[in-house]
Amino acid sequence: MELADRAVGLLLSSISLSIFTYYTFWVIILPFVDSDHFIHKYFLPQDYAILVPVFAGIALLSLISVFIGMVMLKSKKKKA
């Protein structure tokens, strides 16, 4: 139980760390690498570096708003 939780925590940390590293590399280092270098095969075009996080952020925000809205509606109904 305790050990399994630790494993999950470690997994979550390593996932976020690798995403961070990958994204940093993509955005900060890649523009300085020659465009015919093989490493470009492992990354999407630069435009997506903005598009993906923006859409992920919007999705997250709307999910949170919907959740909060639903809970508030429910509690209002309970009071009435």
Binding site: A4, D5, V8, F67, I68, M70, V71, M72, K74, S75
Partner: protein
């Protein structure tokens, strides 16, 4: 015991332990027994603020009073359920100690940590010593993964928004200098467990010296504590309120 505190040659302070209760007849006797077991050389009183529990908590406390003495256990009952914040204020009015300890009656706060609170206060002369789950030596027991993640997430969010200077905002196992508690509590308006958060944030903003000791939080043995959507939303509202007013 190794962590029993040494008070030889020092001025002896008196500690008032305020325990708000509501339907805690199973727990209150155990907690009183444990407090007496772990605080042998300390001058203290236990103030039970009972909100008119229908399960006979007050009868149990009266029996305990006969056993330990009415000067050690004080029963300060209120007629009906009036909430946690006012329970502290009510208990505080009757406190005669130099320091006030606030703890839950449901055994999630184990009295074995009391000596380390007292010791920390004596060492550092802090105004507030707060128990924290988020340092080495502290933790939670009996929580599932979801609960742990929610708690962590809530804490990270609060840390980012409020910069409170303490690692555990919602834990309510704390020792206060009496004057500090009186000052802080008078400026708090929230209810529920946002109240715990507001107290420590306001104390930080007022510049009180706050120290931390690690504690292990044990999930309540009898009864259940709930954590659902509406609790999360209440918590978020509390965060926003504190962000805007402190």
């Amino acid at each position: 015991m190794a962590d029993e505190m040494e008070t030889k040659g020092e001025k002896k302070y008196k500690y008032s332990i305020i325990i708000p209760t509501y339907n805690e007849r199973l727990n209150i006797a155990i907690i009183v027994y444990l407090i007496f077991k772990h605080l042998r050389d300390v001058d203290f009183e236990i103030i039970v603020v009972d909100d008119g529990s229908p399960d006979g908590t007050q009868e149990i406390v009266k029996q305990l009073q006969q056993l330990y003495g009415e000067d050690r256990i004080l029963l300060r009952a209120r007629a009906k359920k009036l909430g946690l914040g006012t329970a502290y204020i009510h208990g505080l009015k009757h406190a005669t100690g130099d320091f006030v300890v606030i703890m839950d009656a449901d055994l999630s706060h184990h009295p074995k940590y009391l000596p380390s609170f007292i010791k920390k206060q004596l060492e550092t002369n802090a105004s507030i010593v707060t128990g924290t789950r988020y340092v080495k030596g502290g933790g939670v027991h009996g929580w599932n993964l979801m609960r742990k993640l929610t708690s962590r997430g809530a804490n990270v969010l609060a840390q980012t928004l409020l910069w409170p200077g303490v690692s555990d905002l919602t834990g309510s196992f704390r020792l206060y200098k009496k004057s500090a508690l009186e000052d802080v509590i008078s400026s708090c308006v929230s209810k529920g467990y946002v109240f715990q958060m507001e107290m420590i944030v306001r104390a930080t903003r007022k510049g009180y010296h706050i120290e931390e000791v690690p504690i292990t939080f044990v999930d309540r043995v009898f009864g259940t504590s709930k954590l659902g959507g509406s609790e999360i939303v209440e918590y978020l509202k509390g965060l926003v309120y504190l962000l805007l007013t402190t």
